[in-house]
Structures are given as C-alpha cells and as structure tokens.
Amino acid sequence: MREIFFIKDRCVGCGACKTACAAEHAKNHHLYDPLSSVPMGKKRRTDRYKQTPGDEVPHPVRCLHCDEPSCMEGCISGAIGKADRVYSRWDACVGCFMCVMNCPFGAVLPFLNKAVRCDQCLFTEKPACVRACPQNAIVYMESSEFAENEKKKRWRDRVQKEIPLLKAKA
C-alpha cells in the first residue's frame, strides 16, 4: 500500500496542499465550490488535509491507518471499516463524532454533520496534495521505499557534514 509522507523540513507552510484537497473533494473539482458555499471569511474545513497550528510551520495531518484504529472502536454506527486502509462510509455515518474524539492524531475532521478523513484521493494516480506541493514536501510512496530514501538522505547528510571535517583533519 502506498502512503502519503510528509517531510517537515521541506515545508514552507504555503498551504497549497490544503487548497488542493478542498478543490479535489468539491463537486466539480473546482475551488469555487468550497469557497462559495459558506459565508466567506469563516474558518472552514472542507479539506481533508489539516494543518495544526502551534508548530513553527503548519503541519499537515493525515490518517495513519492504525492497526487497531481507535476511531473504529468508538464508531457507534459501524460506518468505519478497515480493509487495507481505514475508511468511513459517508452514508452510514450518523455524525456522532466519537471518531473525532477518539483518534489520537486528530486525523478525522468533523464536516457539518459527517466525519471525514483523508481518503488518499481514491481513483487518482496521486493524491491532490502531493501533486500540489511546490516543495515536494509531501510524497506518495511505499513505506519501504520511503524508509530507504530516508536512510540514503541521512547518510548523505552525514557525509556532507563529515567531509569538511575530514578535509580539515587532512
């Protein structure tokens, strides 16, 4: 299963991911819809990609598809299921927001009277946030691949730090 990964030190906090997410989940994939359907200027959360304040850069949060999802345990209507990914069924959800209360990562968002979460943009090749990010701070890959990249990156960082040291020694 491919997953969305966020590389924090690349993020500049532009919020393009959020906007792209809102547009992707609007009826005709156009940003006009989510912007016009609510009194302007109100803080809105149609987007399934959320940024938590408090960090120096906004930090997108998405569902981790836990092994034992506490959102699923709390759901009183059986709307949340787990198969490869954790999903919630829009039509079965009764809007009790037990899942919002139970997810320790704040990954489920209340939206009007339904709970929404990142669905990794089903039926598209790449999630919208990944496509939108100008900094490549959000990537979509297998977790093994990501771990491999991270290892390489860390090795590269170390080498880059060590080379001047080595040169200085020599």
């Binding site: 506490s70 345990e73 320790p104």
Partner: protein, 467 residues
C-alpha cells in the same frame, strides 16, 4: 488440543468486541454469545432514532444474525442467564446448563428506576423499549422527559426533531451536568428552548397525574404541574449485577476487574457497562479519597502522598493486586466498552494485554451544535484556560502541567489529540494556553452568548440542507 469453550454473556458492544478479538487469536475455540434480548447486535446509542421512527431496527443493526455463523459465533437469542456456578464452570440458562472454560460477563447496565410505573412511563435502554415507545407515539401530543443526562437529553432531542414538544424535568440546576460545564450547557439550553423544549430545573417528580385517557402530566416537588401524555425516564444507569450477586465475584459499584479485565475468579472476565475498571482522573487532589495512578504524580504531589502514605506507589501490596476501588470506576460509555471488550477478548484467548485506563469522555451533537467533553469538566480548584467567541467555546482544565479535562463546543477538531494527552498525562499546558491566547486574547466569560453568536452559528447549520 481440545477447542476452548468461551461463553459470553451479553450481546452489546463489549461482548461483540470481545468475541471478535478472541476469534482473531483463536481460530478453533467455540464462542457462544448469550443475550436475553431478541435482536442481533445493534447500536444502542441509536435506538432513539428507532424510537421516533426515523430509522428502522434493521438499519441500526451492526451485525446481522446470519453473519454470526461466518465468524463461528453461536448466538443464543432471548435466553435469560440465571445463576453462575463458577466452581463448576457452568452457568444455568433458560435453555439448560452451559459449560465454559472461559467466561466473559458483559451484561451492561439497567436504567435506574423511579418509584412510579404504569402505562405511559418508559425508559430507553433496549430496542424493545424503543419499539414500545414508537408504538405509543401516535397518541402523544406532548412528552415529559425526566432526567437531564445524556440519555434523557438524547431522547428529548429525538422527540423534538420528530416535532413533539418536550418538557424536561432535571434535578440539578443545568442540563447535562455530568458532561458539560454550566457555561456550555447554556448554549444547548438556548437551542433546545428555541426548538420547543421547556426546562424545569431543580425539580423532582412528586406525583403522576392520570386521566381517563392515560397520562396527563406530573406534579413536581415544587408543586408545578407539568403537562404531557408520556413520561420518559433517563435518570442514568447502574450496572446489571443481577446474575453475579451470589457468585463470589468481587463487586463494588460494578464487577471489579484488574488491568487485564479479569475478575478475582481466574478465567472469568468482565467489561463494558458492568465492569468497574481502571480510570484515569487527573483531578487535583484535595479530598481525602486519593489514589495514585501515575508514578509522576507521586512526585508532583509529594505533599499529598505524605498525607496518605497508604495509597502511594511504594506500597505495592495495596495497589497491585486489587487496587483501591477509588481509581476503578464504572464508565458506561460506548468507546470504553469497545476497548475493554477488546482487551478482555485478547486476554481470554491467551494474550497478555493491559488496559491503560479509561477517561470519561462524551461527544454530543444537537441541532447541529457539536460538543465534546472529557476528563473533569468542573473547575473546582484547577486552573483553566478559556476561549469563547464566534459560536465556539473551549475550556481546558489543568492539573500542574498536565491537562485534566476539556470542554469543546462548536469547534471540536483535535478532540482526539486532547483525549490522548489526558490518557497519557502529557505536559501540554504551555502549548494549549498559548494557543488559546493567540486565538482570542481578550476573551471573557462574563458576557452571555449574544444573539449574533447564535445567528452565525445557525447560518452555518442551515448549510446542512445543502448536503
């Protein structure tokens, strides 16, 4: 190896979660589920929708009867369990004896009784109750709800949305007093009153008035006459301890269980509304009923642990085996039941998992206004950070550096993160206080929620029609 025989009494969320988790670890064992109700597993909190006819019974069923076989569960529907004979490892049921190797008691709770009964007086706990009310509803022009707790208010809300005006009699001075603080309950009170509810606070029922046509109303202890053709009682629940009375299990408020959800009898487990299990309360201790759950707290409350040496962690004898019951409590909540059931099920199937402890938390939504509360909600003596404005109310209560409780209204995002912080006693105070002060530096509690706040709120709510 011979297949284990698991017996589960109770077909609620705790029982079913237990069954599924046993099945995950033990593919062979025989799992029998006994219930005295006549329905397969359904969502108890949603029965208020069945009550008003908004949903049919089938729509809130979470595990249809033919699916039980798929997981190898045997369902014994409509079978009353009589006595437990734990020494002989059997229980007597209306359909004969049932032998077991491991027993799981998840009998839930029963509504608290009031000294009145008869036609037109109902409680809401089971699907049967809901169906009874639904059959009675065509006769009802106005209803009375007795009790301002989550169940009473939920029933009142269901009736209001079905177009029946409701008179709500509450014995305390605010609605949802165990869930919300006074300020946040005001918001809901306004919404309820605008939608046809009338409240009678600080009142109790003294007398039932009947006419030839049935119930006419009740008289409160203040002498007020409250009109209504039907009385719904939602005065809270108490654990259903009928079958364990003389079984030799340790019982306090509910069945006492250890961190593995096991009772004092080996191989007998309990969970859900019936169990009295570990809870996490971070309320600052100034009362004598003190107990230490977290090692860190004994450092921070050095003073209090000197006063109460018996309860400090240096005395494992008093806390490890059967800890003082004050840090065990009954939490009659759905997610708590699910988690406890999961832990019990896995331990029954041979795993060793400890329950980290529950936190009382509730999520409610009435007339589109959402609220979540968790931990302690009343600030007797703790420090609080508060934000109010734009139809949003957020209150955080702290114990030293840790979060002890929160009330969120209007904007409930991140509720889960806060609950996680409470459960793990994380030092989040600075983060939260600075977030609050950034949001709205000049917030004050004095001014009441103005009409404009409610109108912005409602303009948001009217959007629901769009979807």
């Amino acid at each position: 190896m011979k297949a284990y025989r698991y017996l589960i009494i109770g077909n609620g969320v705790a029982g079913i979660c237990g069954a599924f988790n046993i099945r995950k670890l033990d593919r062979e064992g025989e799992i029998t589920i006994v219930t005295n109700e006549n329905y397969p597993f359904y969502s108890r909190p949603l029965i208020t929708d069945v009550m008003t006819g908004k949903k049919r019974a089938g729509e809130i069923t979470l595990l249809p009867e033919n699916e039980y076989k798929r997981y190898g569960f045997t369902l014994m529907k409509g079978v009353q369990v009589g006595k437990l004979a734990l020494k002989e490892r059997s229980v007597s049921t209306a359909e004969g004896r049932q032998q077991f190797d491991k027993l799981f008691i998840a009998t839930g709770a029963v509504p608290k009784k009031i000294p009145f009964e008869g036609e037109g007086i109902f409680s809401v706990r089971t699907m049967e109750d809901a169906e009874k009310i639904r059959a009675y509803l065509p006769k009802v022009k106005q209803a009375i709800v007795f009790g301002g707790g989550p169940i009473g208010i939920k029933a009142a809300y269901a009736l209001l949305t079905a177009g029946i005006p409701v008179n709500i009699i509450i014995s305390s001075s605010q609605m949802l007093s165990r869930v919300l603080d006074e300020r946040s309950s005001q918001y809901f009170r306004t919404l309820f009153e605008q939608n046809g509810a009338r409240f009678f606070f600080n009142s109790d029922i003294k007398e039932i008035v009947r006419s030839k046509r049935g119930l006419k109303g009740v008289v409160t202890d203040k002498g007020e006459m409250v009109q209504g053709d039907m009385l719904i009682v939602g005065k809270g629940v108490s654990p259903d301890l009928d079958i364990v009375r003389d079984a030799g299990l340790r019982v306090d408020k509910g069945i006492l269980v250890d961190d593995h959800m096991e009772t004092n009898h080996k191989g007998v487990y309990a969970a859900g509304d019936v169990a009295q299990a570990k809870v996490i309360t971070l309320a600052p201790r100034h009362s004598s009923a003190s107990s230490i759950q977290h090692p860190a707290s004994s450092i921070q409350h050095r003073a209090s642990s000197i006063e109460h040496p018996a309860s400090s962690i240096e005395h494992p004898a008093s806390s490890i085996q059967y800890p003082v019951s004050s840090d065990r409590d009954v939490l009659p909540l759905w997610p708590v039941g699910a988690e406890q059931g999961k832990i019990a099920g896995q331990n029954m199937a041979g795993a060793k998992r400890a329950y980290s402890g529950g936190v009382g938390s509730n999520s409610i939504e009435y007339f589109g206004l959402k609220a979540v509360s968790m931990g302690i909600t009343r600030d007797d003596g703790c420090e609080a950070a508060l934000f109010e404005g734009d139809g949003v109310y957020r209150k955080f209560l702290f114990n030293e550096e840790r979060l002890a409780g929160a009330v969120l209204l209007g904007d409930i995002s991140d509720a889960g993160v806060l609950l996680h912080a409470i459960r793990n006693s994380l030092p989040v105070r600075n983060v939260l206080t600075s977030a609050v002060s950034r949001q709205h530096p000049a917030s004050s509690i004095e001014h009441p929620a103005s009409d404009s706040q409610f109108s912005t709120l409602r303009s948001q709510l009217s959007l629901e029609v769009l979807f």
